[in-house]
Symmetry: C2
Subunit: 334 residues, 2 copies
Amino acid sequence: MSATIYDVAREAGVSMATVSRVMNDTAVVKEETKKRVLEAIAKLSYRPNAIARGLASKRTKTIGVIVPDVSAAFMAELVRGIEDIANMYHYHIILCNSDGQLDREKDLVGTMWEKQVDGLLFMSPRLQQEHIDTFEEAQLPIVLCRTDDPEGRIPSVNINNRQAAIDVVDYLVAKGCKSIAFVGAQNGLRTLTDERRVGFLQGIQRNGIDSQLIELPNETYATALPILKNAFKQGAPRAIFTANDELAIAAEHAAQDASLRIPEDIMIVGFDNTKLTEMSRPALTTVTQSMYDYGAVAMRFLTKLLSDEPISTYTVVLPHQILEKESTAPRLIR
Amino acid sequence: MSATIYDVAREAGVSMATVSRVMNDTAVVKEETKKRVLEAIAKLSYRPNAIARGLASKRTKTIGVIVPDVSAAFMAELVRGIEDIANMYHYHIILCNSDGQLDREKDLVGTMWEKQVDGLLFMSPRLQQEHIDTFEEAQLPIVLCRTDDPEGRIPSVNINNRQAAIDVVDYLVAKGCKSIAFVGAQNGLRTLTDERRVGFLQGIQRNGIDSQLIELPNETYATALPILKNAFKQGAPRAIFTANDELAIAAEHAAQDASLRIPEDIMIVGFDNTKLTEMSRPALTTVTQSMYDYGAVAMRFLTKLLSDEPISTYTVVLPHQILEKESTAPRLIR
DNA sequence: CTGTTAGCGCCTTCAC
DNA sequence: GTGAAGGCGCTAACAG
């Protein structure tokens, strides 16, 4: 068993209260006794027990992070952003995967409450009323990240997915595309993809060009590839806009299999700006800022909430932009 | 403020000890009183405070996971494997990134101790004596994952990287390759890459063929690409074996830029079997089982340690295998 | 089967 | 500036 605050107090010849004070810098302690305490701490290599501290202070310095699936490339980057900022503010994160299942998400919020996390960072493909109810019940500071509450009841950091999709259409039209297909999963729920699809359709309508919707059962590379290959057999559109980068890579491969040149015959635009966009051939034009920044901003937002720093808005809308790479631009000389 | 165990006890007309008993199923309680307690719990929507429980029981049901960087694709998959199994055994994970820096790693072990984690899953590119010392000091059940302790002092789950590399050389030789290059970072420390390099060299020697070592300052796609392109200018080997999948993709692209056909002109073999291998063109031949399984096995191992289940060996060596895909085999018809 | 009683290790008023 | 004392919410003997 290791040293407790009492051991340190005895060693330093002071009371435990004083030890607590120097540990937490919570009141002025005479320089000399402070020194004695510090020496005792070092001598016993004392480490405060965070659990006991949590019980007494009701603050655990840990925040819960609920994501659908870390193993998705962009989620991992996002989590890294969260962790870096958390670390900067001396928080730790408990990471949970929900697979986007409502039951599990609700359960996790409860479990995180049990663990007495100081706050919650929540990501989900779609937010339903039940989520909101669960959040309210939990009475925890919560920030949604890359997850939209249309009513703006919950603090969130997000980009304007609809507008971003419109911008992509405009961008492709400016590039001379007269027909554009949108690729994403259709599941009847309000998802990020739906937001993007809506924007896409708005953009199409505004520009008065041809469009096509390619619906997927899910948004993975493996699922998308055969479906896209098949779609291209009956004539490919001039451009493809996918709901995320992974799908865009599937589109690239499907196009290549159909002997279509990128970007000469078909342009491709992804979404999320993950590392994948740099590791694909041709490099992928994509939308928005890095997932890392996304997570970082969300975590910073939460720390503000937790320390009662003034907040200007509870619905942070991150700027988005289109990063032009090879899949829509003349090939660079290699 | 939410309900405590006292509130439930009062509501059910029993003592808090009984409530605790039904919560933890730690002793037989009469069916009827149990029912009353359960009703009280439901009525007050009582949730036990895990922190208080942790303080009293000295077990927090959380384990610390220290990784170099979750945002690396394979690490994310590995972490997912860990989390799934952790969840299965009702553990939660605190995830920390160390960037492979010794100081930070040591510090994190200490902080995890403060948080009273029940155990630690530790990943690092290289293990030094200082790590061992830190672990011993912490007195925590620890399992190394994808990290080797050559002396076998710390429980670990790993593959035989050296043998795997030998197997790759044999495999490529059987394919008719007379010259093979190894690509990886050289940093003077004992790393996974070094293990693989050693195996590579042994294989080369045994087969008596030509070899080349291409040393990188780090193991990222962006770093590798230009270096490999340059290397290929002065004549490419018949095969490339890289320390990980990401580098293998760089090799593919470098080869393609040099107008080399894969696998006709040059074969490429990666390492780790990440999702990337399926998302590359040509699909990448790679070594070992999935990172997900890796994490899952390691976590399961830790749960055994934590529950004193019998353990046959403290050094779990996972079987490895070569998964042949397009980068070393005739192209499949698409 | 159930209740009583100590703590777990620390924070936090209060007095001094 | 420092000490004493009372919790935080729960588990775990120990009685009954």
